[in-house]
């Protein structure tokens, strides 16, 4: 069974280069999410895989086969579009069947597959309706069904949930995830929603400016972001990024924040050796702060600027120079805090992220 490989992919629109020397390989059965801000080239990459757009330079392989110049219908993949792209003049059944137009199948096989997909997606009662008479979620199911009946190994999704409301989105997220587990197919899924990425992906490729910034499991991407972009893009509320300077290197490494607070870096696993006096950025996730205020690699006592509660969660914003530091807290805790109070937090060892201030790369 195939792996998908992008090798040295370039894509130009006229003189605009949107992808440059992109390499990526997706294993069989993987749920790969392409995650990135709008305009970073996710759709372009997906469309090139589907054959809907030409590749300027490079090779795309499925298994050993070079499919870069193959016709879309011969690539053995199915796609679910953002607008669903259902054929409006055909019934649900017609839509599912039409997806099989190119495959020479006998009628019984077609019916069998259509029925299988309909049952799997629970759209059997809708089979004779036109897409216009379906709700957003139902249309989404039909669109997935049209991809399913093709019985292929690779499914492509381009922001399939962005037209649904929040509740439906959560439901469909689960359904797609379940579907992936049932069919054991390979999925390439494009989104700019990090929650979708974190919940569904087996691996995430974080993209920005046509470049893959990090490629790893959701945990890797979340816990050890490869650079400042990934650190800032993943996580809500976003990671706190503070300026600091390395004050000593070696086994007793440490850094100093701009207000003079010392950070103990002796347990930090450096990937590159720091130099004394080097400017760095320290990344602290709001949810890793210890609100008891003791221990850890750095302790801060700062005035409260504001509080925010979202029901199950609360965030306290502390004033740090001109910046704010977000700290996740229990709602009960946040209730007792007054704006202007001093609030003590500490940050545990092993959760801290350190980036080179110049290159933005993880250290």
């Amino acid at each position: 069974m195939p792996t998908i490989a992008f090798e040295h992919i370039y894509k130009d629109y006229g003189s605009l280069r949107v992808l440059a020397d992109l390499n990526l390989s997706v294993d069989d059965g993987e749920f790969l999410v392409l995650l990135g801000p709008s305009g970073c080239g996710k759709t372009t990459l997906l469309n090139m895989l589907a054959g809907l757009q030409d590749v300027t330079a490079g090779t795309i392989r499925i298994g050993e086969e070079d499919i870069t110049e193959l016709d879309p219908k011969d690539r053995g993949l199915a796609m679910v579009f953002q607008s669903y792209a259902l054929y409006p003049t055909k019934s649900v059944r017609g839509n599912l069947k039409f997806g099989l137009a190119a495959q020479k199948l006998d009628r019984a096989e077609i019916d069998r597959r259509v029925q299988w997909a309909a049952e799997l997606l629970q759209i059997t009662p809708l089979m004779d309706r036109k897409p216009a008479h379906l709700s957003g979620g139902q249309r989404q199911r039909v669109a997935i069904g049209r991809a399913l009946v093709k019985n292929v190994d690779v499914f492509l999704f381009d922001e399939p949930l962005s037209n649904l409301d929040a509740k439906l989105r959560t439901e469909m997220r689960l359904e797609i995830k379940t579907l992936h587990e049932q069919t054991k197919s390979t999925i390439v899924y494009v989104t700019h929603d990090q929650i979708e990425a974190m919940t569904m992906a087996t691996r995430i490729a974080v993209m920005d400016g046509g470049v893959i910034q990090q490629f790893g499991t959701p945990d890797e991407v979340y816990e050890t972001p490869a650079n400042l972009f990934v650190a800032g893009f993943i996580g809500a509320p976003a990671m706190n990024i503070l300026d600091a300077t390395i004050t000593s290197s070696g086994p007793q490494a440490s850094a100093t924040l701009s207000d003079g607070t010392k950070i103990d870096l002796s347990h930090y696993e450096f990937t590159a050796n720091p130099n004394e006096g080097q400017a760095v950025k320290v990344g602290l996730r709001p949810e890793h702060f210890d609100t008891s205020g003791k221990g850890g690699v750095v302790s801060l006592t700062l005035p409260v600027a504001s509080r925010e509660r979202t029901g199950s969660d609360a965030t306290i914003f502390l004033k740090f120079g001109d910046d704010l530091i977000a700290v996740r807290a229990e709602p009960a805790e946040a209730r007792d805090v007054m704006v202007g109070d001093n609030f003590a937090v500490s940050f545990p060892a092993g959760k801290l992220n350190l980036f080179d201030a110049q290159t933005g790369q993880r250290m």
């Binding site: 040295h8 370039y10 130009d12 280069r17 020397d21 030409d54 590749v55 300027t56 330079a57 490079g58 090779t59 870069t68 110049e69």
Partner: protein, 296 residues
């Protein structure tokens, strides 16, 4: 490209496919069908009659002559008068201006009132306008002749201009209304709060927003008035024949051997103004005819 690294292994530019070639060839053939008449007219208008009599309709002029153009402009006979199509050119211009002013002012104000003000019978009126836009001209022709005769404009420039304005009113009003109804309600609400007056809002807010639609309608009207034949011949009387009428008389009712080169030059002279507009302002022209089509 800019950076040729070792990794840059360009894909062959997709060769133009057989299907593309077939489509382009077909389109090119159709384009030829559309161009041939124009080509024929142009070459004929520069030929001498001696060459035309040889019957090679597609050949280029052996000696290029401007004589047919001069003759068509100032000498060709239309009926008993022999003053070329130039008289018609000026008559058409004279018809154009009053007619444009009348029809644009009335229909834009009407469209504005129908679209943005609560007039209770607006729906009914619009339906009537819609139906009127489709009525064949012949059904109102005779009473209009009598009416214009009664108010004394029959057979004058004004008669033709007024009839043009009347006939264009339904469709232009609907085009304007369709444009104005997309103006957000908030703008109107704010405007009513600020000044409130119907005419002031029209002058100060609506008109400045309407430049685009005015150009579109203007071009639609200019071409349709310029190209009109029926209204011109019916209402223009003997002395105010627009260019198309003069042209038709020159070519069709000529006696003896036709001077085809002069005829073609006259036809070209008549076609040049709208063609110029089309080639220069084609975008607005297309918008105009499709706007006229969708709501009319």
């Amino acid at each position: 490209m800019s950076t040729m690294t070792d990794n840059f292994v360009p894909r062959r530019k997709k060769r133009i496919t057989g299907r593309s070639i077939a489509i382009l060839a077909f389109l090119a053939m159709c384009a030829a069908f559309f161009c041939i008449p124009l080509y024929v007219v142009i070459v004929t208008s520069f030929k001498t009659m001696d060459q035309i009599r040889l019957g090679e309709i597609f050949s280029l002029p052996v000696t290029w002559t401007l004589e047919p153009w001069r003759e068509a402009w100032s000498e060709a006979c239309s009926g008993i008068k022999c003053e070329g199509v130039s008289a018609g050119f000026f008559a058409s211009l004279k018809i154009l201006f009053p007619s444009l002013i009348l029809s644009l002012s009335v229909s834009s104000v009407t469209g504005y009132a129908l679209a943005l003000w609560n007039v209770r019978w607006a729906g009914t009126f619009m339906f009537i306008l819609f139906m009127c836009a489709f009525v064949p001209f012949q059904i109102i022709m005779i009473p209009m002749i009598i009416l214009t005769g009664k108010i004394g404009v029959y057979g004058t420039i004004w008669g033709v201009a007024v009839v043009h304005a009347v006939l264009a009113l339904p469709i232009l009003t609907l085009i304007f209304r369709n444009f104005y109804k997309d103006i957000p309600g908030e703008i109107m609400q704010a405007a009513i709060m600020d000044s409130g007056s119907f005419w002031r809002i029209y002058r100060e807010i609506i008109l400045p927003m309407s430049a685009n639609i005015f150009i579109v309608v203007l071009i639609l009207q200019i071409t349709s008035i310029w190209n009109d034949f029926l209204i011109g011949i019916t209402f223009g009387g003997l002395n105010n024949k627009p260019m198309t009428v003069i042209l038709a008389n020159t070519v069709i009712s000529a006696t003896g051997e036709s001077s085809y080169n002069v005829d073609m030059a006259a036809a070209l002279l008549t076609a040049i103004p709208p063609l110029l507009i089309y080639f220069v302002l084609g975008k607005f022209f297309v918008q105009g005819i499709t706007a006229g089509a969708i709501k009319g």
